[in-house]
Symmetry: C2
Subunit: 503 residues, 2 copies
């Protein structure tokens, strides 16, 4: 395997950056902002959102000036427009919304970002049938994705120019592939460090070449405006280098240094695996709300061994094949009949995208088929819980005997880290080899190929029948590894790398 | 781009191998044999089949002892079993059939080779929904694909052992990925050169990793039993090296030399782009049968400009998106209404595979939609011809104004070479960038991304409205290039490379 020469996953974050950060400001840009704003009778009300980046930033927000730029998502966002917001007692940030017109936003978000780019990056297209990149898709590209990236870029350039200190710009994810070059071109001599982190998988050139050249070239050129480009795994980073080498004429790459050379510039490519906020989750798991849900699950289903999954309702999560594997397990190992239940906790997601609606229908049908085939008057093998209820999800993760994470592709998959962190039964993790989490957890989990229904069935069976001491050792290894690398480390490693590279 | 150091597409085939070949014998192995055998009242009747390999071999058959091993496909094949067969006056070969039991053959052919491997290698799976690699697929692997590969390997080893001269074994295609290592292990000290040519695309590790480890590792180990492994394009060869590097522990690769090192052995990886038998096709195109079909087409449809496609009825050919592009063209450029027709000549293929049946339904529906939307009492925009009729296909290729080849993925695509060879109108080729033929024809063709319906529509329009001299120059460039590299060169290059490497 080709690897960078440097070991990037520094075991100990140096925190040297806290000093050097006093000379810098942070400008973060992402599609969604760190707060949900609601228009209440007493004025605007701010609710902090849960994402990893918000969490990680909280611990820095007292020490550094930060501005967060996001797309307005409601009238309240547009009314607020921009201003300072506090993270409780932990310091605050300057929050600024951009407001593209609804049609441009729809093209950018509902046509290009999701499903087109998301599906390409998660191997989800049924190529003989979709996507059809027709005139309307090109309009969504030109008048939506390109335009919204330009609006973000202009707001960022504005913040950079108004900053007294030299800013570090941290762009987030696949919504903003074009922005870096646009920023670079407008900045001229004003100095700033441009970085971006891609939260989802980056496939190789074979997948990118399915996009028309008029999209893939601007995407690669856009990202080559950066100084530092971060991915979830080393594989993703190598795939980016290979994509650039195959698809961007004029670029050269050095695999062993993780560098792209393009138009007299160097783009450093690194991996910064994201994680969870271990301390907060453990704290939350002790709460009364979680306990109540746990007691409910135990009272209602506790006579069975429990297979659990917790996922957004989304084709990349491979939910229907999970039910097919459970079916195959009951068929091959009938000793589990009336003794094991499969509880699926599913959060509705992007229901405005057609592909997601039809996937919902399919997965409910798949669950129904298993119940029709094996259910008895006393025992319903599959139970699907639909809705967003974090306390209930954490309660379920506390009591699983086996946790199933069988994604077709997944940038990281944080459920695979939350599960072992809160589980109280030395439960077994069955984990897809196509998740970013696999690298960290493979010596504790049972690793499966996501299309391999038979292997998944056998893995579920193995998990349900594993000896206690084997289970305990595996669970311990995973818990310890997750605690060592939590979300603070993730941001910290990025800032350390910026400082180490002298950017 | 990483390239081999040697230039492998030798401009002139050295024919040095004809002398060195007198010291060798050839053993060819492929799923289908070079003759169709029928049981007639007067005994068995032999009909030579049209494939490129048979054609190429004919010119060598007088000079070298050759044996061809194939799977029996009929009672007549099984009755014949083995014996010598003549290629007209051009010398002959020893033909030998292996006869796996029908259930093993069904698993090997209809479950594993098609669709599983074919679909992986052509980016055709709808991963959220298929394939489901359940227990029955694993049985088809173990009791079908593995077993039939073993039966082939045993027959080949038997021929090698009975050969007085040192044999060159030439395995063909994706049906026989496991055979090389099986042969190698059984040969012991008996010397033979093992080679294989893969006629279909070889994708990168991102696609192969979708296969369970228990399949992909044996496939890669199997091929690493070879001395020389040939692909259609340099990209395919590089993808193989990358796949081995990612997925086969213990193997190392040298990209610049096209070599894999595995278990004290060297596997040489090269590209040998396949072509057509230019002379025979030109001869055939002069025949009365072709002329009659041509006159029929001209009489019936000749008042229109003609867009033509000729394809096996198969999802990798992207037939429905071809109709969608025609629809988009008529919408964006209504001046073509009642003046252009789209004639699609489609050959039924693998109709026993479910995925192919449903694709037939979809493409007929897509054609019907265009006719319903734009058709008038005097003009039906799309006409689909179903059935295998080579003379009719060649006639259609003679008279196209635009030939559409928009495959999602295609090892080479020989229609893209037959078209310019026989066309009489300086017709324009619209060609998918995901065909192996693209490398050779891109400076004559209009190259499109296969998912880009809008670009395909604009390419059809451009082809229909192109100036005569531009059309003529493009057509000439393609004709000349195809004539320079015909099917004889393909076999010739392989034998030269064997001799050059001292294998």
């Amino acid at each position: 395997m080709v690897v960078w020469e440097q070991d990037l996953n520094l075991k100990d974050c140096e925190h040297s950056n806290e000093d050097s950060l006093s000379e810098r400001t942070l400008i973060i840009a992402s599609n969604r902002g760190p707060f949900t704003i609601e228009n209440c009778p007493d004025g605007l009300e701010f609710q902090r959102s849960g994402g990893g980046l918000v969490t990680a930033l909280t611990s820095l927000a007292r020490k550094v000036d930060a501005c967060w730029i996001a797309a307005a998502d409601s009238d309240a966002d547009r009314e607020f427009s921009q201003g300072d917001v506090q993270f409780g007692n932990d310091g605050g940030i300057h929050l600024r919304f951009v407001s593209p017109d609804p049609k441009a936003y729809d093209g950018y978000y509902n046509v290009i970002s999701n499903p087109l780019l998301w599906f390409i990056q998660h191997s989800l297209w049924d190529f003989p049938r979709a996507p059809n990149i027709d005139h309307s898709v090109w309009q969504a590209w030109n008048n939506g994705y390109v335009r919204v990236n330009r609006i973000f870029a202009e707001a960022i350039v504005d913040e950079v120019k108004n900053s007294e200190k030299e800013p570090i710009v941290m762009l987030q994810d696949y919504h903003l592939y074009l922005a870096p070059l646009m920023i670079r071109e407008q900045l001229k001599k004003k100095r700033a460090t441009l970085t971006q982190f891609i939260h989802i998988p980056w496939p190789g050139p074979e997948d990118w070449i399915m996009l028309p050249q008029g999209m893939r070239t601007p995407i690669l050129e856009g990202l080559c405006g950066l100084d530092l480009l971060g991915f979830q795994t080393r594989e993703d980073g190598l795939n980016f280098l290979r994509t650039v080498e195959s698809c961007l004429p004029g670029a050269t790459v050095r695999y062993n240094r993780g560098q792209v050379f393009y138009q007299d510039r160097i783009i450093n490519v690194r991996d910064f695996p994201i994680s969870i906020d271990v301390k907060s989750i453990k704290e939350f798991a002790k709460g009364a709300d979680v306990a109540e849900h746990r007691r409910f699950i135990e009272r209602r289903y506790g006579e069975n061994q429990l297979i659990v999954r917790v996922d957004r309702m989304e084709p990349s999560k491979n939910i229907t094949r999970g039910f097919a594997a459970f079916d195959e397990m009951l068929n091959l190992h009938p000793e589990h009949l009336e003794k094991v239940m499969f509880l699926a906790f599913l959060v509705p997601s992007r229901m405005e995208v057609t592909e997601y609606q039809s996937y919902l229908d399919e997965l409910m049908a798949a669950a129904g088929r298993v119940n029709a085939k094996y259910g008895t008057s006393n025992w319903e093998p599959v139970r699907v819980f639909v809705g967003e209820n974090y306390a209930r999800a954490i309660a379920a993760l506390q009591v699983y005997d086996v946790l199933l994470v069988n994604s077709i592709a997944d940038g990281m998959n944080l459920v695979a880290k939350e599960g072992p962190t809160v589980n109280r039964k030395d439960g077994v993790l069955v984990l897809s080899e196509r998740t970013g989490a696999r690298a960290q957890l493979e010596d504790g989990a049972i690793v499966i190929s996501p299309l391999d229904v038979y292997a998944t069935a056998e893995a579920l069976h193995k998990g349900l029948t594993m000896q206690e001491d084997d289970k305990h050792q595996r669970a311990q290894r995973m818990k310890e590894s997750i605690e060592r690398e939590d979300i603070d480390q993730w941001l910290c490693h990025q800032l350390d790398e910026i400082s180490r590279l002298g950017l």
